[in-house]
């Protein structure tokens, strides 16, 4: 039961079906990679799991450790242990990184408890150091004026501070240069644990050189058409998505 389990999920937006009988099971302790061409529904999947209200779930089920989270508010899903690292993190003017993460951590405590400021800053600084984020960033407004790479590192910082049970990472590698990619990957690898499951959504194989997945899924037109081990990502890189279309989509259609 310790898993993020998605079964026969059908999702549409404005009457247009995006996810079609999508199923995926991520047990704790595993890293799954989800690859596929643009517009195939990867980001939709991430947002639907996180509880975004713009999508219409027509059927299917999403279970977090055996409990349905479909229809729950985004904050409830977050507190239940799910974190989404956004493809395009939002800018929140005037709210510092330190205050934002602190508020998010506070939301995880019982009402009569408050965060120990000294311990909090120690943890924050340690984790910022690990992600090579300048400590001066704590006072900056969340994501405001950040470069693409800074935003992504800030997402991983939040993820490591909030210690979720399940991490969804939506194209965290896009916009990262090779050094930043390595730093982000190190951050994720440090979090890798038997107590935690990952879904890494990516376009390219290069992130998976640093974060070696247990399972790789290939998504096409709203569903997973093929799964394999880490080697699949490399095969995909050399053969391209046309190979997926030719080898798996037509065969499943028959």
């Amino acid at each position: 039961m310790q898993s993020l389990e998605i079964t026969n999920l059908n999702v549409s937006i404005g009457g247009q079906p995006i996810l079609k009988d999508f199923s995926l099971n991520i047990p704790k302790g595993e890293i799954h990679a989800l690859m596929g061409p643009n517009g195939t529904g990867k980001s939709t999947l991430a947002k639907v799991i996180a509880g975004h209200e713009d999508y219409e779930v027509t059927s299917g089920e999403i279970l977090l450790n055996g409990e349905s989270i479909l229809g729950n508010e985004p904050d409830e899903i977050s507190l239940a242990g799910l974190f989404l690292a956004f493809q395009y993190p939002l800018e929140i003017p005037g709210v510092s990184i330190a205050n934002f993460i602190r508020a998010a951590k506070q939301a995880r405590l019982p009402e009569n408890e408050s965060i120990n400021a000294v311990e909090y800053y120690k943890e924050l600084y340690d984790k910022m150091d690990a992600l090579k984020i300048d400590r001066k960033f704590t006072a900056r407004s969340l994501n405001e004026g950040f470069s693409g790479g800074e935003k992504k590192r800030c997402e991983v910082l939040q993820m490591s501070m909030l210690e979720p049970e399940y991490c969804l990472m939506d194209e965290t590698d896009s916009g990262l240069d090779i050094d930043a990619l390595r730093i982000v990957a190190d951050g994720v690898n440090l979090m890798r644990s038997q107590e935690r499951g990952f879904l890494i959504i990516t376009h390219y194989q290069r992130l998976l050189d640093y974060i070696v997945p247990d399972v790789v899924h290939v998504m096409y037109d709203g569903k997973i058409v093929h799964s394999g081990d880490a080697e699949l990502a490399k095969e995909l890189e050399t053969k391209g998505y046309d190979w997926v279309k030719d080898s798996f989509v037509s065969s499943t259609a028959q």
């Binding site: 996180a50 509880g51 975004h52 209200e53 508010e73 985004p74 904050d75 899903i77 977050s78 507190l79 974190f83 989404l84 956004f86 993190p89 939002l90 800018e91 929140i92 003017p93 005037g94 709210v95 205050n99 934002f100 993460i101 508020a103 998010a104 939301a107 995880r108 407004s141 939040q158 909030l162």
Partner: protein, 474 residues
Amino acid sequence: MSESIINEQEEAIKVDYEKGNFSFPEDYTYDAGTGLSEETVAYISKVKNEDEWIKEFRLKALEIFNKKPMPTHWASKDLENIIFENIRYYLSKGQKPSRTWDEVPDDVKETFERLGIPEQERKFLAGVEAQFDSEAAYSRMKEDLEKEGVIFVGSSEGLEKYPEIFRPYFGKVIPSADNKFSALNSAVFSGGSFIYVPKGVKLKQPLQAYFRINAENFGQFERTLIIADEGAEITYMEGCTAPKFETATLHSAVVELVALKNAKIQYITVQNWSNNVFNLVTKRAHAEENAEVKWIDCNIGSRLTMKYPGVVLKGRKARGEVLSIALANDGQHQDTGAKMIHLADETTSNIISKSISIGKGRSTYRGQVHMPKHLKNCKNNTECDALLINTNSRTDTYPAITTRGEGNTVQHEASVSKVSAEQIFYMMQRGLSEGEAMSLAVNGFVNDLLKAFPMEYSVELKRLIDMEMEGSVG
């Protein structure tokens, strides 16, 4: 002029005014009854045992008030809903302000205790005046300030005991005829603070006044005059609340500040009126050579607030500043702004205004910056930012800037932003509730301005904003 109106239906917003929403049964010795006439004015003057010239001043003002039309050609038509005949213009228990809280009548004392005034006094204030309806119930300043010659009294006592100090400036910064409501205040004024800070005396802690309306249909018309003599420095803070009555209440104050050469005055207002108070206040300062006047103005609550604190920069190198935050919730209109009148060379002014409109709340910014042709090297900076919370919230900006002359510069920036659904989703994904996310976004919006406020007030303001944002999501 830029205008942005977005109109869509969204769920209404609940407001929590619980902290100030209580009142005690009425028990007054002096009551001028309802309605406004020469008799009302004469009654007030008699109760106060005033000199003849003050009575004449009042009657003259009443004449002006009766003649002046409502400014509805440019301001909200809602002003027409003020029924002057239904208002009670003077209510008091007929006692002098006490110097200890023990001597204050129980109901009044309890009112201020619930509002936390005695506690704040102990913590960080140099002096407090607490006004209950028409008159101050408590007034006290630290003894060492008295020894230095600082005067901190009510308006009646100021005019009676220190006419040589206050009379030359009284009604000079804001003449009775300035506008309809300054005329009204001049006719029926009662209470408020008259403060004089002698040459070179610098107050380290703020003086505070707290204005409380307790009675229904009551109009509060306090009058404040602060004079900072050469090189003097003072921070004055005022807070205001009223319980929520069925009928509209009127608050119409006049505040005059005089900063003489090299003096500094900082005037801070945090009002949290219940949402049926008409709050129509005239505030203006004179700044002489190298003097500095800073208005910090936070407008939360009320049905309609119209307030444009101004600084007349009369002396070379005088500086004026208005920092304001307005929060308009459902059914409220915050019509606020600033005026900077440059009358000398090398004068500088700065206006930063932030407004937040929630639900069907509406906020309006009106600014006036005046720099005549003959002046040199004057500067103004104006920034006005509006934040809309819901799609049916509204904001308008009306800046009026006249600049002529060489080397004078004016900089004006305005922005309108919205808290987007995606921002809220992002914050909620981190575990914050929708209300917490909204609150954080609003606090973020005013954050850089809050840093300019004294600590105690920025904490209080944050609390008020959080309270307003609770349940403000639909």
